[in-house]
């Protein structure tokens, strides 16, 4: 749910990174944090376990610039990917404006991707959203690893709706900003349509 503040002349939007455990959601945020001008970012918060697995969420506020005199601010969140944190994932999806699904390209994670995308659909529906209507893009992460499956196969598995998709190596930043830009554009376009 975007928040338009006429007083502060600001528009705030919420973007959620979704995907199976260890697919690289937090790594996406860390890369964005490292590569963003200090004026344009706030503090990155990670609520993680001692072993650096996301426990509740990561949070990164970003300013993108102005549109027609309104500052555009994006709040980036990740969900905890591990299956048993489902209650927390549902909470993070509340008020979401756009979703990035981060798929793990490794062959042994194919099933986990599929489960996670199904879980995303179910959890969005519980909040009254539909994956068909919400701004949504997919990132195929870890393309640098030796055991990856073809993008075509991943596409068939997790992207039957044919939404914008990007290959990425979040660790080194390949595709990270492209994915974020793509979903941000969709969110702003949705706002323009009065969504």
């Amino acid at each position: 749910m975007s928040f338009i503040n006429y007083m502060a002349r600001e528009i705030n939007c919420k973007i959620v990174y979704y995907g199976p455990g260890l697919c690289g959601k937090t790594t996406n945020l860390q890369y964005i944090y490292e590569r963003t001008n200090p004026d344009a970012k706030g503090k990155m918060i990670s609520l993680a376990t001692e072993t650096e697995r996301t426990l509740f969420f990561d949070f990164l506020p970003l300013s993108l610039g102005e549109i027609r005199g309104f500052k555009t601010r994006f709040h980036l969140y990740t969900v905890p990917g591990q299956v048993f944190y489902d209650a927390s994932r549902k909470l993070i999806l509340k008020g979401v404006d756009g979703v990035i699904f981060v798929a793990d390209s490794q062959i042994e994670r194919l099933e986990a991707n599929q489960e996670s995308v199904d879980n995303l659909r179910t959890n969005l529906a519980e909040q009254g959203y539909s994956l068909e209507k919400i701004p949504y893009v997919i990132q195929y992460n870890k393309r640098d690893l030796p055991n990856v499956v073809d993008v075509k196969e991943l596409h068939d598995l997790v992207n039957p709706m044919n939404v914008p998709e990007y290959e990425a190596v979040a660790r080194t930043g390949v595709g990270v900003f492209e994915t974020l830009k793509a979903v941000s554009k969709l969110v702003l376009t949705e706002l323009k349509r009065g969504g």
Binding site: M1, I4, F59, S130, I134, L191, K192
Partner: protein
Amino acid sequence: MVNPQMVMYEEEFNQIQVVVDRLVREANAKVVFIVDKNGQLIAASGEVENIDTTSLASLTAGNIAATGGIAKLLRENEFATQFHEGEKANIHIQLVGNRVILVVIFDSKSSLGLVRLRVRKASDELNRVFESLLAKVAEPGGDSPFAEITDEDIDNLFND
């Protein structure tokens, strides 16, 4: 519309600001702020220069969301009030009208009793403001300022 928008206008913002400014004084608080349930900061007052209000807003909303999840599991509607006591700072978190979160940070110059009393009064006032705000947003004709943006405007944002 899947995604009802939260909108803040100048008139309501000023009314809210009056309430939070007064709450800082009357509760002897260090900081008072209001956040929506999605973690967006709506208003703040007091010694806000030294704290990261954006992070606080997001964490408070996460906290309320988690507590709300626990409430649901226990078949409670909500746990509307939370209080955390630290060595120097204390934080009182109040859900207002199940819509926004009123946060008061205070130290030993105040007390929980005083904060609770003042928060109760402020909550009623805030509830009225947010109700009228919601009614206004629901009125037809309140076009989004973004209705007129062009694809070019959006592209320009990413041209760097």
